[in-house]
Each structure stands twice: as C-alpha cells, then as structure tokens.
C-alpha cells in the first residue's frame, strides 16, 4: 500500500489534482482511496459527482458510524471519504482532522487499498493539519505550487513544517505553469532540495471538467492535459523514497524572484 498527502496554498488546485491523480491511478488498475481533509468537503466531488456526507457530520449523532455510512464509491470504483469539519469561523478544523483520520484508520482496513491520497487543506498551519503525516498515515508529502510568490511562500512554509516534524516530501507539483514561471519553481526546488515531479499547465479542459464535477481524464481522456496527469501519476507511483526538505529564510525566498542569476 502506498500513500501520499497533498499540501499547498489554498486555491492552488490541490483537490483538482488529487481527484485527477486518483482517477489516473485507478485507470492503471489500482484500488484507490481518496480522503478529503478539507472542512469544505469538496475533494471528492469530481469522483462522486456531488457532495457526500462527511464523517464528522455523521459522527455528530453517531459516535461509531459503520464504514458504509461514510465511505462512498465513485468513478472507476474509487473509494472516497470526506472528513469534513466546522463551518467557517467557528470550532477547530485541525481537531476535526485528528478525530476523523484517527477514526478512519482505526476502523478501515487500509491494506485493502493499493494507494491512498489525502487532500489536506492549505499549508501545515497547526498540529491538526499535520496529523496525516506526523502520525505516518501518509508516507510523505507532495507539495503543489504555482510560480507566484505567495504560492511558493506557502510551499516554503510547508517545507519548514516538514523539516520541523521530520517528515519526508516526495516532490513538487508545479501547477498552472506559465511561460516564464518555471525558473522560479526550479530555483525553489533546488534550494529546498525537492524534485519537480511534474508540470501542469493552465487548462481550459480542467475548468470545463470541474464544472461537470468530473476529472479531466474522464471527460477528455485523449487530451494533452490528461496525458500529462497520467504521466505524473505514473511518476508518483514509481517514487521510491522521499526526503526531508530544506526551507528558506524570507530573504532567500525573495532572492528567487529578484536575483539576476
């Protein structure tokens, strides 16, 4: 069984990539489990085609729900769970992830799956959001970033968190790539000592598929973007080991964008 956790700045495309990678892996014949850890419960929409009830919502009234109450099968038989969490502005999403993930791993036979993907909200801002990798539920992390400063800033913050808690990262997914942006991501990748696993360009097909609540591979199976995601998924599958990333000071981070080298 392999497992990864996807981290990155909010809105960077983690959930879209997570569902597309899950779909691609399932197409390779793997039994895939996609676990959405975002309180918005939107990680699995592209697989199921709609929102599914979240584990934590179910646990409000049933402390010990059976697996079939919170695990749903979607496209290509991919298993999906949404942990859920509080509405914006109240409660504690981090605590929710701790409770939800612990419950899943206590009750679900994870060895039934070939590949588990965790879609984790934002960067590692607190202990709760780090639980997935801290407790080794996921073997390592894939960091999603675009080439803009704030996105790389968030990626660096994730590297810092992983360095602190001594957790491996597998590499970087460069999403929404632009014509001149690769140099920034490459510099960052070198400095934090993580490989770029793949480059995903901005895609109208992805936007179109998202509107249909489907993965791009399902809607446009022969498109260029689908082939890119399939190729990246294969690379992820073949990663043997990760490494603890370095992290950069704010000055070092700014140099990526402003130095003439």
């Amino acid at each position: 069984m392999r497992s990864i956790a996807i981290y990155g700045k909010g809105g960077i495309g983690k959930s879209t990539l997570a569902s597309n990678i899950a779909y691609a892996l399932s197409k390779f014949g793997l039994k895939v489990l996609l676990i959405g850890c975002d309180p918005k419960s939107d990680s699995t929409i592209n697989i199921i085609g709609k929102h599914i009830p979240s584990l934590l919502d179910i646990m409000k009234t049933n402390k010990n729900p059976s697996i079939d109450m919170f695990l749903f099968k979607g496209s290509n038989n991919i298993s999906c769970i949404e942990i859920g969490g509080p509405e914006p502005g109240i409660g504690c999403a981090g605590r929710g992830i701790i409770v939800g993930v612990n419950y899943i791993f206590k009750n679900l036979n994870i060895n039934d799956y070939d590949f588990i993907i965790f879609d984790v909200p934002a960067d590692i801002v607190c202990g709760g959001l780090a639980i997935v990798v801290k407790e080794k539920y996921a073997e390592g992390v894939i960091i999603v970033t675009s080439d803009d400063f704030m996105s790389i800033y968030a990626a660096n913050n994730i590297c810092r968190g992983l360095n602190t808690i001594r957790v491996n990262a597998f590499g970087i997914l460069y999403n929404k790539s632009t014509k001149n942006g690769i140099k920034y991501v490459e510099k960052f990748s070198r400095k934090v000592n993580l490989p770029i696993i793949g480059i995903i360009p901005y895609s109208e097909e992805i936007i179109s598929a998202n509107k249909m609540m489907k993965t791009v591979i399902e809607v446009y199976p022969n498109s260029n973007i689908s082939n890119i995601i399939k190729s990246i998924s294969l690379s992820i599958l073949n990663i043997k080991e990760g490494r603890i990333p370095n992290w950069l000071s704010i000055n070092e981070l700014e140099e990526i964008f402003y130095e003439n080298s």
Binding site: L56, M59, K60, G85, P86, I90, G91, C92, R95, G96
Partner: protein
C-alpha cells in the same frame, strides 16, 4: 527564562473566585465538564451555583457557542440570577469561542460578566483582573476600586515571584513542623515572658481559619499572662462588600471574646502590602517571637526575630522553611475548611495549643 514545573494556580480558578467575591449568583464554565472541577465544587460550598457547558469532541470541532447559548438561556429562566459570570477555559478559548457575542444575543449583557481566560495566560491573577475589568465596565465597581484591586493583584503576583511559591523552578512539598512541638514553643515563650507579636496577614476567607491563632493566644494570655500584641489585616472598610463583611464578622467575634486588635494593617485583600506594615511594627518594637498566620512570606522578618509561620499548603510550607522561618505549621486545606463558613474555625495549631493548655490546668 526558567519555567516553574510544579503545579500552579490557574487564571480560570482565579476568575471564578473573583466572581464569587463580586457576589454573582451563577458561574458558567464554558468548556469540558472536568475543567476546574475542584474550585467549582468549593465555590458551590460557598453558595455559588456553578455550571459547565460540558463541551465534548463535537463542540471542540464544530464550535460550542450554540451549547453556551442554550445553557445560559436555561439557567437564566430557571434561576433568574441577578448577576452571572461566564468564564472561558483552555478548550473554548483555543477554538476561538466568542462568549460575549452569545451573551449579547441573549440580551444578558447588562448582568453578565464575561471572562475570556484560559490556563495558558500565565499568572493566575490575570483571570481575576479580567473579571474586575468587566465588572468595572458593567458599573459594578468603580474605576478607583478597579485600580486598587488591580494593584493588589499585581503586588500579590510580585510577592509570589519574589518570596512565594513562584520564586523557584521547583519547590518540593513538606508537611511542616509538628503542631504539638510548635504549640509548646509558643506556650513556653509566653510563659518565659517573651514579647510576642501575633500577626494575621490572611487572604480573604482563609482569615476565618487563621484568625483562630488570635483566639488561642488570648486564651493563653488570660490563663498565664504574657506580653502579646495583635496585628491583623482586618480593616472592615476596605474591599468588596463581601470581603469587608468577612473582616466585620471576625472583628465582632474577637470583640465578643474581649480581644482587641492593636494594629490594623489593611483589608483582607491587601495581604501583599499589609505584610510590610506588620513588619515595620514588629521591627520597631522589642518583639522576640513573631507568629504569622495566613501569608507569612509577605511579612519578611525571618532571621530578624524568632518566627513561627502558619500557612496552608505543603508547598507553601516548604517554601517558608527554605526562606528561613524558624517553625512552619501547615493548616491543611484552608480554602476547603473555610468556604461556606462565616465564623472563626478551629485550626490545627490552635487545637494543639488548647490541648496543652487543658493539660496544664
């Protein structure tokens, strides 16, 4: 910065005690049901109705304001309290609960003291100051009284850090000296005509226990004579009405027994500074033995005259010993003994002295 690694009092508990001093009818702890269980039970003994919102895992994830709203509403309808206190806890404050918003939504803001504290804020007095600030905002106490109380609490914190149980990284527990042995010391010194100062420097309701030493020393005086002067922080005109009343009750009881306090050093909430006055009185006299009850470390006369300290708590006892007080008696659980009682309660040392005096006669 060194961290104190022995257990310390909590700002939550301090907030609850201060709410009691302000005569709230009910206190609602917004947190898991086990939070501050000990102080809650003691305050119930003292007549305050204490409730908890009993937050569980669900509320910690999804928020507990709805639970607080329901409980606050129910308590208000059921008990019709004139004054309510709502106190935060670690759990509710960490997840960002807004106590005040709930209180305002229920139109209870004009009779509810909201206190956003948790145990990670540092000094316990922070909780008490928070309550006082809110009480001032509600017009329950004046700005002058708030400033006076705040100063006293800050001085109390300073005292704890310089001479109390917050002065060292770790202070072990100690049972203190044998009360019988200390009782003999006192009786023998009085019998040998030594000049004795009996100092009550007590904190609030604990005076109901520590004032017993005044009664027993007076009994000795009546029986075998002796030169004893009484010094006490029992000013009935200082502090919140409840605290003034404690002084009044104690003074009346002492009066009934024919005891006159020679020097009043301040009110029962002024123990952090009243000790300084007591020290001056003792050092400007020919006192040979000082018996200090309550918060003895506020009366810094160890090493200058023979000292017998009477306090509560095995860590406080150990601290006084290490400061150099000659004898230290631990009056176990002063709060537990005095809460809910409004009369001078017999103390361990007092009883040891009484027993010896009976045997003498």
């Amino acid at each position: 910065m060194s961290v104190i690694i022995h257990p310390r009092p909590s700002p939550i508990a301090a907030a609850m005690y201060m709410l009691r001093d302000l005569d709230v009818d009910v206190i609602i702890l917004h947190g898991p049901s086990g939070c501050c269980f000990g102080p809650a039970r003691l305050l119930e003994k003292d007549g305050v109705k204490v409730f908890t919102t009993a937050l569980s895992e669900n509320e910690l994830i999804f928020g507990g304001e709805k639970r607080l709203r329901n409980i606050l509403k129910k308590i208000n309808e059921l008990f019709k309290p004139k004054l309510i206190g709502v106190v935060g806890t670690c759990a509710s404050m960490i997840i960002g609960e807004n106590i005040k918003r709930v209180v305002e939504e229920l139109n209870l803001a004009n009779k509810t003291i909201c206190c956003n504290v948790h145990s990670g804020l540092g000094d316990n007095t922070i909780g008490a100051i928070e309550v006082l600030k809110e009480a001032m905002n509600l017009g329950i106490i004046s700005k002058e009284e708030f400033e006076r109380q705040k100063y006293m609490l800050e001085m109390a914190t300073l005292l704890e850090k310089t001479r109390g149980t917050a002065r060292l990284e770790y202070i072990p527990n100690s049972p203190g000296d044998n009360p019988k042995k200390v009782a003999y010391e006192i009786i023998n010194d009085i019998r040998n005509n030594k000049e004795v100062a009996c100092i009550l420097n007590a904190k609030k309701e604990t005076a109901f226990l520590f004032a017993d030493i005044i009664i027993v020393l007076n009994e000795i005086k009546k029986k075998i004579g002796g030169k004893i002067k009484f010094i006490a922080n029992l000013d009935p005109n200082i502090g919140l009405p409840r605290i003034r009343n404690y002084s009044k009750i104690i003074l009346e009881e002492l009066n009934r027994r024919g005891i006159n306090i020679d020097f009043i050093t301040g009110g029962l909430d002024e123990y952090p500074i009243a000790g300084e006055k007591a020290k001056e009185i003792v050092l400007n006299s020919s006192t040979e033995l000082a018996i200090i009850a309550g918060i003895p470390h506020a009366v810094a006369i160890e090493g200058k005259v023979k000292t017998i300290a009477i306090t509560s708590g095995s860590r406080a006892t150990s601290n006084l010993k290490s400061l150099g007080y000659d004898y230290v008696v631990n009056e176990y659980g002063a709060h537990r003994v005095t809460l809910g009682k409004k009369y001078i309660h017999r103390s361990i040392l007092g009883n040891a002295i009484r027993k010896i005096m009976r045997d003498i006669s």
